[in-house]
């Protein structure tokens, strides 16, 4: 009989565990946290000690800036569980500037920012929430009397790396939706020379942010990304391919209306406009709010919030396909398509009638010899 033994857990440094205990984090919680992070980052278990070291030794200075955002990403951070926001703020990072949670205000707050900028030049992590308006000299968003564009260039330009959290910072998001009244752009477009990692989502999943930060602390570099600057560990797979309802999709079992029997039984939401088949995100695997739920689990289709331009390309959110440009709202792709084929058929039908009554066009058909 082959011996089945549980995978050997790597021992963590005793002193390190004691230091965490002194901060009120139990060993069990700490080890669990490291293991969860390691798994989120898709790393083998042998990395757990390295992760534990990383979050122990280097408190990373962070400057968190919000521009044309809704503070939703900050709120997401407040819901972080592994680690909690208290652990993040007190133990994991030093949050040098964050308008929503910092105690200081006004010019003292701005001073904290410039102090951090000088002291940790080239070493701090910049986190940006919200898009950057560029129209009309940047008047659509100012902080401390200066424009978002000026601030983001200064802060991100001198950072070790920048993380763009949420769809607005990563891709322009809602302010950049057509007709983009304020000329909103993404962080990468605002500071092209900066090293920017995109963590889109509306809002982002805080677990992906903590995993990214720890990856940075552990390996001193940002994680590998896809063509859109999104880390593969969180955006490498489509929602549809990891969806808990995929079996219903394959079986042809669909919720036809909200609240119908199929909907209550957890059938696939494809026909109610779910955008899981075109969205790359790890929602089905990590979920939200400590893994309690995610949109599809709660009976509402995905709206594609991790994709660039999703407000325009993924809407209408309750239809499979986007609006055909230039056609009224009620004209779906299929109505237009059927119309096209029908129009062709009618046109050629008319042509056939015309041809049947056409005489003397000197064609071969006129030369046919009729047999008795």
């Amino acid at each position: 009989m082959p011996q089945h033994s549980p995978p050997q857990e790597q021992p963590l440094d005793e002193k390190l565990l004691q230091r965490w205990e002194a901060r009120g984090v139990s060993r069990r919680d700490f080890i669990k946290f490291c293991a969860t992070l390691t798994a989120t980052l898709a790393l083998p278990a042998s990395f757990i000690p390295q992760i534990a070291e990383a979050i122990e030794d280097k408190r990373l200075p962070v400057i968190w800036m919000e521009f044309q955002g809704c503070t939703g990403d900050t709120e997401a951070l407040l819901r972080a569980n592994q680690p909690t926001v208290a652990e993040i703020v007190l133990d994991l990072l030093t949050l040098e500037y964050h308008e929503t949670i910092m105690a200081a205000a006004g010019h003292q707050a701005e001073e904290a920012k410039s102090q951090a900028l000088e002291k940790y030049k080239g070493k701090y992590l910049a986190v940006v929430e919200g898009s950057i308006p560029t129209a009309d000299g940047g008047v659509y968003c100012t902080v401390g009397g200066d424009s978002a564009l000026n601030i983001v260039r200064k802060i991100c330009g001198n950072a070790a790396a920048t993380i763009a959290v949420g769809n607005c910072a990563a891709f322009g998001g809602l302010p950049a939706a057509a007709p983009n009244p304020t000329g909103a752009i993404s962080v990468k477009d605002a500071v092209p020379q900066a090293t920017v990692l995109n963590l889109p989502g509306c809002p982002l999943n805080a677990d992906n942010l903590t995993a990214t930060i720890v990856h940075f602390l552990t390996f001193n570099q940002l994680p590998a990304t896809d063509g859109l600057g999104r880390p593969l560990f969180a955006y490498g797979k489509r929602i549809h391919d990891n969806c808990e309802r995929r079996a219903h999709f394959d079986a042809g079992q669909y919720a036809e209306a909200f609240g119908d029997a199929g909907h209550r039984q957890g059938y696939c939401l494809y026909k109610l406009g779910c955008k899981g088949p075109e969205t790359f995100h790890n929602c089905p695997t990590i979920r939200y709010n400590e893994g309690v739920s995610w949109p599809v689990m709660a009976g509402h289709g995905c709206i594609g919030c991790a994709e660039p331009g999703f407000w325009d390309t993924m809407s209408p959110f309750y239809r499979r396909l986007p609006q055909v440009p230039g056609f009224p709202v009620e004209a779906t792709a299929d109505k237009i398509g059927v119309g096209l084929v029908a129009a062709t058929a009618v046109a050629f039908g008319a042509h056939a009638v015309g041809s049947a009554f056409r005489k003397g066009d000197a064609m071969e058909s006129d030369k046919v010899i009729k047999e008795d």
């Binding site: 792709a333 056409r358 003397g360 046919v368």
Partner: protein, 214 residues
């Protein structure tokens, strides 16, 4: 004296019929994928997608083979046959044909192969085929961005959102179905009017040509 000529070589006929059946099968399964429903005991969507993908590969091979044959086949199969306006005679015949179709002229240009208006339509159809293959495999490849198709079309993602790719794939299907109506009618019309084996030619390869007419 009526001649019987071997016009459509076997690769032309084979790829024509593979393409035709592919368009029909791909459209049928594609429409099902867009508007699926359940049949008890059948994994309907899984089957629809399987058929769609397998037929897509057959269609890809067929279109590629037809492109190869454009280089090595006879003059009617050649790529030159699809761009009639290269020669002055081609342009003249194109106008003549267009006038016949629009009831503004009586004479047609007698051709051994495609008439010039039809040739132009086929050029467009091949362009749509390429579009459907690229958009289709790009969408298919999303299940594995690190895989062959995902890697091949990685550049498309930032350029076109996958929803608009999907929308175009869907709309081009309707255009191909529209073409199907047109194609069947035109073939029937010419078969009736020219009596030269337009319809049977694509089965047998032979057409009946009156050399004096050319």
């Amino acid at each position: 004296m009526l001649e019987i000529r071997y016009v459509w070589e076997w690769p032309v006929r084979i790829t024509h019929w593979i393409n035709a059946s592919s368009v029909i099968l791909l459209s049928a399964t594609g429409l099902f994928i867009a508007h699926p429903f359940a049949i008890i005991g059948v994994e309907t969507m899984a089957w629809a997608r399987l058929v769609h993908i397998v037929v897509a590969y057959a269609f890809l091979c067929s279109v590629l083979f037809r492109f190869y044959w454009m280089l090595v086949g006879n003059q009617h199969a050649s790529w030159r046959a699809f761009i009639p306006w290269l020669t002055a005679e081609g342009r003249r015949n194109f106008v003549k044909m267009l006038r016949y179709y629009t009831f503004t002229g009586k004479k047609i240009s007698y051709e051994v192969g495609h008439n010039p208006v039809a040739a132009l339509a086929y050029l467009g159809i091949f362009a749509l085929f390429i579009f459907q293959i690229v958009s289709g495999f790009a969408l298919y490849g999303q299940y594995a961005p690190e895989g062959f198709w995902g890697g091949l079309f990685v550049i498309l993602n930032p350029l076109v959102s996958s929803q608009y790719l999907r929308l175009s794939h869907h709309m081009v299907m309707w255009m191909l179905l529209g073409f199907l109506v047109n194609h069947l009618y035109s073939a029937w019309l010419m078969d009736v009017k020219e009596r030269n084996g337009t319809m049977s030619g694509i089965f047998s390869g032979y057409r009946y040509i009156e050399p004096e007419d050319l």
